[in-house]
Symmetry: D2
Subunit: 146 residues, 4 copies
C-alpha cells in the first residue's frame, strides 16, 4: 500500500464529563486539560478504526507529538458534558495529523478547536516509517467511512 | 497611557526540574506538561516584571488563554534540568501574547518552542480592557529591559 | 433531619478508560491519577444519588478533602478499562467519608483501594454544617439502596 | 551491608511555587497536587543523598508506590511559596517509607502531612530486593546527617 495524503470524513465522537481536577481557580477548565482530551479523542478515533493505540504502542511504535495548536472559544465548567470530535487530517509515510473540535454537549457550543501533528517513532525514540498494518488501519477507517 | 503593539527584548528565564509525574509511558515528558510550563514561565515573567500574576488575579483580572501553539523538537526526560525562556510578543488594549522556548539546561538543546495568546477577563469571565496599572507593568518591564 | 453515622450499601460504579497522559515512565498509571479517579467516582456517586456535586458547588458549598489514603495492589496500564466503585462510609453534621475500590474491568483484579474524608466548607472556605438538603440527598441515597 | 529498619533525622527541604494549573475551582491547590509534590520531595531527598532517582531508574529499579496517605490542614493558593520537608521513615530489604510535611514558607503554617510506602521493582515490574548500592546510599544519607 502507499500511504498518502488523505482527508478523511470519518469523525469519531468521544464523550467526556469535566472532572473537578480539570478546573482551575478561574472556575473553568484549565487550558492544558484540552490537550489531554485531544489525546483521548485521538486514541478513541483509533479504537473506532479497529486499531487500538495500546496495540500500536505494545508493538513498539508511538505517534510522538510534534505540534499542538488549540484555539479556545468558550469556557467549560466542572460537570459539563463534553464531546470531542476527532478527524484524521493527513497521513504520510512517517507523519499523521488529527484535528479536534470540543463541544459542550448540552448547549452544542463549540468551545475549542485544534490540531496535532505526529511522527512515528520506534521504542528507541527514533523516527520511523509508519508500519503498513498501521497505515492501512488508519486509511481503511477513512475509506470505510467514505 | 496607550497600550500598543510592542516587541520586548526582556526575556525571563525559569528553571524547572522534570518531575516523575510529568513523564508518560514513552519514557519522556508528556506533551501537555509543556503547556503547564509555558504558564509557569509566563507567571515568572510577570513576577520578574514586578507584577505578580497572583496580584492581578486577586484584583479580579485574569489573562484567559485564547490560543496555544507548541512545536516539539527534542524529548525531555525525568530529572532533566529545564530552562523556560519567556518573552512578551505583543500587548494590545485587551490582548497579550507571549512566546516560549524550552531548553535542556544541561545540553543547551532547544526542546520545544511555542506561543500563547490571552484576553483580559474580569471575575465574571467577560472580556475587558487590560487595566492601566497592569499594562504599565507589562510595558515598563519591556522598556526597562531595552 | 439528623445527619448521623450511617453505613451505606449503595455503591456507585464509574467506568473509566486509562488515558495515555495518566501513565508515567514506569509504563503504568501514575499513583496520583487514582486520587483524581477517586474524586470522579465520588462525583459520580453523588450524581447517582440525584445530588450532582456541581449543584452543591454552585450553591456555595464544597466538600474539602481533609484526608486521603490509597493502597496500590496491582498496576493499571494505558487503555485498560477501569471500574471505580464508590461507597459512602459515614456522614456527620460537618463531615463525610467515602471509600473506593479500583478494578481492572477486564480481569476483575482489584488494583487499588482507598478512602477520603471531607469537611463541608462555604464559599469563604470556612467549615460549615452540611446543609439539610445535601445531607438528605446523601442519606436518601443510602436508604433507597437499602 | 544489612538494610534494616532505621529512622533518619535527615530531612530534605524542597522549595516549590504553586502553579496556576495546580489550583482548582475552589481557588486552592487541588488535593492531588500534594501527592505529586510528595514525589518531587522524595526525589529531591534522594538527590540530596547523592543518589539521584533518575540514576536508580536508569539502572532498572523503581520504587513503586504501595501506599499513600495525606492529611490536609490548611489550604495553599496560587503563587504561594511552599516548602516540602521529606524524611526517610524506614528502610527494609524490599521496602522504604518516607514522610512529608508541606509548609507555606511565608506564614510557616503546616498545610499538609503525609507518608508513602514503596517496594522496589525491576524493569519487569516484579518486586525485588533493593540493590546494596541503593540501600547504602539511602542509609549513608541518614548516617551522615546523624
Amino acid at each position: 500500500m502507499q500511504p498518502k495524503e488523505s482527508r478523511g470524513d470519518f469523525a469519531h465522537s468521544l464523550d467526556i464529563t469535566v472532572r473537578f481536577a480539570e478546573t482551575d481557580q478561574m472556575g473553568v477548565v484549565h487550558h492544558a486539560s484540552y490537550i489531554v482530551w485531544f489525546e483521548a479523542g485521538r486514541v478513541a478515533w483509533m479504537g473506532g478504526a479497529g486499531l487500538p493505540y495500546a496495540q500500536i504502542s505494545k508493538a513498539g511504535y508511538n505517534f510522538a507529538v510534534t505540534d499542538v495548536q488549540c484555539r479556545y472559544r468558550s469556557a467549560l465548567r466542572f460537570g459539563d458534558p463534553v464531546q470531542v470530535i476527532t478527524r484524521l487530517v493527513s497521513l504520510r509515510s512517517r507523519q499523521v495529523e488529527f484535528s479536534y473540535e470540543v463541544f459542550n454537549s448540552d448547549s452544542g457550543v463549540l468551545c475549542a478547536a485544534g490540531r496535532t501533528s505526529h511522527i512515528c517513532v520506534d521504542n528507541s525514540g527514533a523516527m520511523t516509517r509508519i508500519p503498513d498494518w498501521v497505515a492501512e488501519g488508519l486509511t481503511g477507517n477513512v475509506r470505510s467511512a467514505a
